[in-house]
C-alpha cells in the first residue's frame, strides 16, 4: 500500500516537472531558431550595415538592410505611447489607492482590467477608424497611417497594466503609514505625493519599463494604424514601419524559407527579443534591488 502511494507520488512529481519544463524547452527552441537564422543573415549582411544603415528596403532593388528606420519607428511608438500610459496610469493608480472609496474602486478596477482584455487588433481598428480621423480634424496634414494614432492606442492598451502594477504597490503601503502622515497634519495630496509615491518609486519605475517593453513588442495596433512605410522620420504625424510591423508584413507575403528576406525577419526578431529582454530584466532589477518592505 505504502509502495503504491510512493509510486504515485513519483509519477505525479515527474509529470509536473515535465509540464514546467515545456515552457522552458519552448523558449529555448525559439531562441535557437531565432539565433540560427539570424546567424545566417549576418553571414550575408555585415552587422554594422544592419545596425547603422538608414535605408530599409529588403525586398526592393537595390536591396538595403539598414534597420534604423524600423528602430526609430518602434522607439517613437514606445515614447509617444508612454506619454499617454505613464501619467494616466500613475494618476489612475493614485486615485484608486488614495482617493477612491471602496465601492468606487470595486467598480473601476474591473473596468480597467477589462480594458486589458480587449484584443489588440480591436485597438488597431479603433486607432485607424476613430483616433486617426480625430487627429486629422485637428491637424489635417496628418497621414492616414501615422505614429500618433497608433501610439495613443498602444498607450491606452498598456494603461491598465501600468495602473494595476502601481496600484498594487500603493495598496501594499500599510494604512498605519498614511495615518502617521495625517497625524502630522498632511493632506491627502501630500500623503500621495510625499509618502506614497516615494515609497513605491521602484514599483513605479518597473511598471514604466514594462509598459515601454510592451509598446516595443506591440504588433497588431502598429501594423494596422502606423503604416507600412519604413521611412526614417521623427514626425509623429507621418507613416512609419516598426520592427514588429515589418515582421507581420513579411510573413503575410510570399517569402520562401532560406531566402535572404526570410532571414531578415529573424534578424529583426532577434533584435526585438534583446530589446524587450533587456527592458524586462531592468524592470525586474529595479524591483529586486529596492523591494519595499514594511
Amino acid at each position: 500500500m505504502k509502495k503504491k502511494i510512493k509510486k504515485r507520488e513519483f509519477i505525479i512529481e515527474k509529470s509536473l516537472i515535465l509540464f514546467a519544463g515545456i515552457s522552458i524547452i519552448t523558449t529555448l527552441a525559439i531562441i535557437v531558431t531565432l539565433f540560427g537564422e539570424t546567424f545566417q543573415f549576418f553571414k550575408e549582411i555585415p552587422i554594422m550595415d544592419f545596425l547603422t544603415g538608414k535605408t530599409w528596403a529588403p525586398t526592393l532593388v537595390p536591396k538595403s538592410f539598414g534597420v534604423l528606420p524600423l528602430l526609430v519607428g518602434t522607439l517613437m511608438i514606445a515614447l509617444f505611447s508612454s506619454i499617454i500610459s505613464l501619467p494616466l496610469g500613475l494618476g489612475s493608480a493614485i486615485y484608486l489607492s488614495e482617493y477612491a472609496k471602496k465601492r468606487t474602486r470595486k467598480i473601476i478596477k474591473p473596468i480597467l482590467e477589462l480594458l486589458a482584455g480587449i484584443p489588440s487588433i480591436v485597438y488597431g481598428f479603433f486607432a485607424l477608424t476613430f483616433i486617426t480621423p480625430l487627429i486629422r480634424q485637428i491637424l489635417p496634414q496628418t497621414q492616414i497611417f501615422n505614429v500618433a494614432s497608433a501610439s495613443i492606442a498602444v498607450g491606452i492598451m498598456t494603461l491598465p497594466m501600468v495602473a494595476s502594477l502601481i496600484e498594487d504597490a500603493m495598496m501594499a503601503v500599510p494604512n498605519s503609514v498614511r495615518n502617521g502622515a495625517y497625524a502630522l497634519g498632511s493632506t491627502k495630496m501630500e500623503v500621495a505625493l510625499k509618502i506614497i509615491i516615494p515609497s513605491t518609486s521602484s514599483s513605479i519605475a518597473s511598471a514604466f519599463v514594462l509598459a515601454i517593453s510592451r509598446a516595443i513588442g506591440e504588433t497588431m495596433i502598429v501594423a494596422i494604424a502606423a503604416g507600412q512605410s519604413p521611412v526614417l522620420t521623427f514626425n509623429p504625424l507621418e507613416s512609419i514601419q516598426t520592427m514588429t510591423g515589418f515582421m507581420v508584413n513579411m510573413s503575410l507575403g510570399e517569402i520562401s524559407q532560406g531566402t535572404l528576406e526570410y532571414k531578415t525577419v529573424f534578424a529583426v526578431g532577434t533584435m526585438l527579443f534583446f530589446m524587450t529582454l533587456i527592458m524586462n530584466l531592468v524592470a525586474k532589477g529595479i524591483l529586486y534591488r529596492n523591494r519595499e518592505r514594511y
Binding site: 503609514v177 495615518n179 510625499k194
Partner: protein
Amino acid sequence: MKIIYNNVDFYYGNNHALKSVNLNIEENKITALIGPSGCGKSTFIRTLNRMYEHIPKTKITGEILLDNENILTDAYDLAELRKKVGMVFQKPNPFPKSIYDNVIYGPKKHGLKNKDALDSLVEKSLRKSALWNEVKDKLNKSALELSGGQQQRLCIARCLAVEPEVLLMDEPTSALDPQSTLKIEELFQTLKESYSLVIVTHSMQQAARVSDQTAFFLNGEIIETGTTDDIFTNPKDQRTNDYITGRFS
C-alpha cells in the same frame, strides 16, 4: 486646564462610541486612559486630533476646548491642530524613508526649509526621544532597518519635531519588548516636563507606573477620573475596582 471635554458624543454610523464624555486634561501631566477593549479610549484620543475624519460615517457633537478654543469647529485649521497635538500609534509606523527624512517630514510640511535649522531640529528631536546616540551615525539609513523599540522612539521624535503641545499615545508600547517599553516609559517622565501626555494603555501596571491622572472608560462612558493614586488605591466606583483588580478585562 489644557484640554476640556464638554459633553462629547461620538458615533461610528449607528454605534454610539462615546457617551457625553466630560474630562479635563492638565498641562504637563500624564493622563492615562484605561478600560477594556472597545470601551472607547482609542476613539477618545482620535477625537483630540480629529483623526476620525479619515473614517467614513462618523459624527461628533459637543465641544473640545484646547487652550479654551473649540477644536471641533470647521474654522479650526486641521493642520494647525495636528501641529499642536501629535500622535504616536500602537504599531510603530515610520515612513519608508531615511531616519533623517522621517524626522524632518513634519517640520518641512509646516514650512521649515533652512538646512541648518532642520539639521539641529533632527538632533534635538532625536535627543528628546532618547534615540540620538543609537542613530547619530546612520541618519541616512532607512528607518525600517531599526528595531521595533527604536522605530517607536523615532515616531516620537517625528512628533516632537513639529513642536507640539500635546502628545497622544495609543498603546505606544503594546507592540514592544519589555526593555524597549521601559525605555519609552522613562522617556515619558522627561517628556511631561514640556508636553501634556495622553496615553491609552491596556496595562494596569503601566498606567500606575507612569501616569498622574487616570480615566476609566467603560462602554463609551467615563466611569471615574482622578489622580492615579486615588483610582488605584481607593476607587469610588465598584466597576473601576472590578477592572483594576482584574475581575474583567
